[in-house]
Symmetry: C2
DNA sequence: TTGTATGCGTTATCAT
DNA sequence: ATGATAACGCATACAA
């Protein structure tokens, strides 16, 4: 309830002096400094942040716009952002459920005057116009963008590399018929992982067009449902790449229910390395996505000066997505004794 | 870059009229309304939120102060808060890593003028003075508070009930030597769960002081380490209550490494019902904590009018924490065939 | 229906 | 070293 004016009155100085004391200006005598502090303490004075940012044009708040908050991926991003923000004395203003470009835009709009910079994940393809308008207002970093936007820094996951490495791993283990459960079409991560899958098959001597590909939507249940379709295909796939761990989990359940042994009868790999992955039976071979670092580095990009004065200048960072080999391909010693064939490593089939 | 003044100039009206149009005031002619909208659109005008809240004293932002952001518990709380906030047209200002009362206070202080209300989890016992000072500034809801604060609404988890129900369940299954791995002393949840454990033992005819209690800190590794101590105790415990699922997971790993069968040789129960719980081997019997609802209801409390004009008036909500029976006690058909003794139900030992 | 003028709570630019 | 005062960008009571 107390304003700077009240403090000034009690300390019998001007509001300018109060402001100086509170902002540690050196041009204040010890005596008045003491009086002001005493008054501020007595009144339990808390400065009004809105008023401060109106004059200083700084808010010490970083904005975050996400399509969703569900699951480790998003929550770890936020944790990474918040930690990095805290390190530079900032708080984090969040708004989620923004998939469509219009929703992203209006959320960003309502952040005008309340943030010093914005971190946005806008999965839709048509978002680049919205992005451009946002970018005029404040510093902007894109998370996992579909397309690069001129003058806009971005940070993303090496989806293509990860999927490619997964295929390489499976081929090295001797698998020749690798199925894939895809993510929702149009989703950036899903599309990139599919692309990496196809490129991997091609480079390692397999025919991408012949690969059994079944649709999915990143949910556990879609992975469960995909199993029936996969088991129906001939030749029967000897490995399945699920575009994310959730679907891999659903798949594992379905295979167990169907009496199909993993990795004995079929190998399974996922993508994301969620916390559950190592506790599954068998522990899931997957690709690690470090979403904490994704958020942390997004903040770093946001506050780092542009690489050059050129308005189109920006930085684009791609976070590595390393392969995590566990037991669901039989490539390492499984928790329980595995069938001999599963750990057997045949001659790698290298293309060319 | 454009302000309301620019829009007024282009539309050849006063800033008051622009403000009226933008806020849908009815007292504006269609013609000027059209002109103003055209000007605003042409300039791509975005109102400054700080300036708006300075005059209206509303920010459309809800603040959240948490000790940490790690794990499903916190991330689901945030998701619940954000969803509820969005429903009432608010965004969410987050700041974490605030355990000590002083840190909580200074974070709240820097939110002055930027939020319409605050949701705080302040686990420390000495926080009530800080809470009281915060409460003078804005509407406040406490998450899982240690002590009630006069005039301050709160929402918490039924920790005591949950732990009590867990003991009841174990006793009904015939377990007579129930060990506990405690959480970090001083932590509200940990303490309440310990209290429920002891009260349960007492009410069901067991001696709380004779129960093997080993320390832990809610981490997986502390659960792992606790196993050795538990196995050393005589009489050997036939059930273990880990104060949270993370420690239960560590314990399960350690028991597996030691060749101890769960639930054959010893039953294990946890608390929280994290997502992993149902995927463990064996699936973990635990208590469900609905942290999404915790956050969602916190917002509801925040915006709901006080029950009475009395300054001490407030609401206190306790969210139920229902028992989730899986297979780690042998009380339901385990995934793999279980030893007969594990599913055997002896005569319940009722006190009195 | 529209414009003028004041205030919101600060910081910052002048003076003194 | 301190004080008066003008911004900051907007909403609104009041006047016209």
């Amino acid at each position: 309830l107390a304003t700077i004016r009240d403090v000034a009155r009690i300390a019998r100085v001007s509001i300018a002096t109060v402001s100086r004391v509170l902002n540690n200006s050196p041009r204040v005598s010890e005596e008045t400094r003491r009086r002001v502090w005493a008054a501020a303490t007595r009144l339990d004075y808390w400065p009004n942040g809105a008023a401060q940012s109106l004059t200083t044009r700084r808010t010490h708040v970083l904005g975050v716009l996400l399509p969703d908050l569900y699951g480790e991926f998003f929550s770890e991003i936020i944790r990474g952002i918040d930690h990095a923000a805290r390190r530079i004395g900032c708080q984090t203003l969040i708004s989620s459920s923004h998939a469509e470009p219009d929703a992203v835009l209006s959320a960003a709009r309502s952040m005008r005057g309340r943030i010093d910079g914005l971190i946005v994940m806008a999965p839709e393809a048509a978002a680049s116009e919205a992005i451009r308008r946002i970018r005029k207002r404040f510093p902007l970093v894109l998370l996992n963008p579909r397309d690069d936007v001129e003058g806009c820094s971005s940070i993303s996951i090496a989806n293509h590399h990860g999927a490619y490495a997964l295929v390489e791993h499976l081929v090295e283990l001797g698998h020749g018929t690798i199925a894939m459960i895809e993510g929702p079409p149009g989703n950036v991560d899903a599309d990139e992982r599919s692309r990496g899958f196809r490129d991997g098959l091609r480079d390692f001597g397999l025919d991408p067009d012949a690969a059994p590909v079944v649709p999915g939507d990143f949910t556990e249940s879609s992975g469960y449902r995909a199993a029936a379709e996969i088991l129906r295909r001939r030749p029967r796939p000897d490995a399945v790449f699920a575009a994310n761990d959730s679907m891999a989990i659903g798949l594992l359940c379905a295979l167990r229910d169907a009496g199909v042994d993993v990795p004995g009868d079929v190998a399974v790999v996922g993508f994301d390395d969620v916390a559950i992955a190592r506790y599954l039976t068998p522990p899931l071979t997957t690709v690690h996505v470090d979403s904490y670092t994704l958020g942390e580095q997004a903040v770093r990009l946001l506050i780092s000066p542009r690489p050059s004065p050129d308005p189109a200048a920006c930085r684009r960072v791609v976070l590595p997505a390393p392969l995590v080999v566990r037991h669901s391909c039989g490539s390492a010693a499984p928790h329980l004794a595995a069938p001999a064939e599963a750990v057997e490593v045949r001659e790698p089939l290298e293309a060319g």
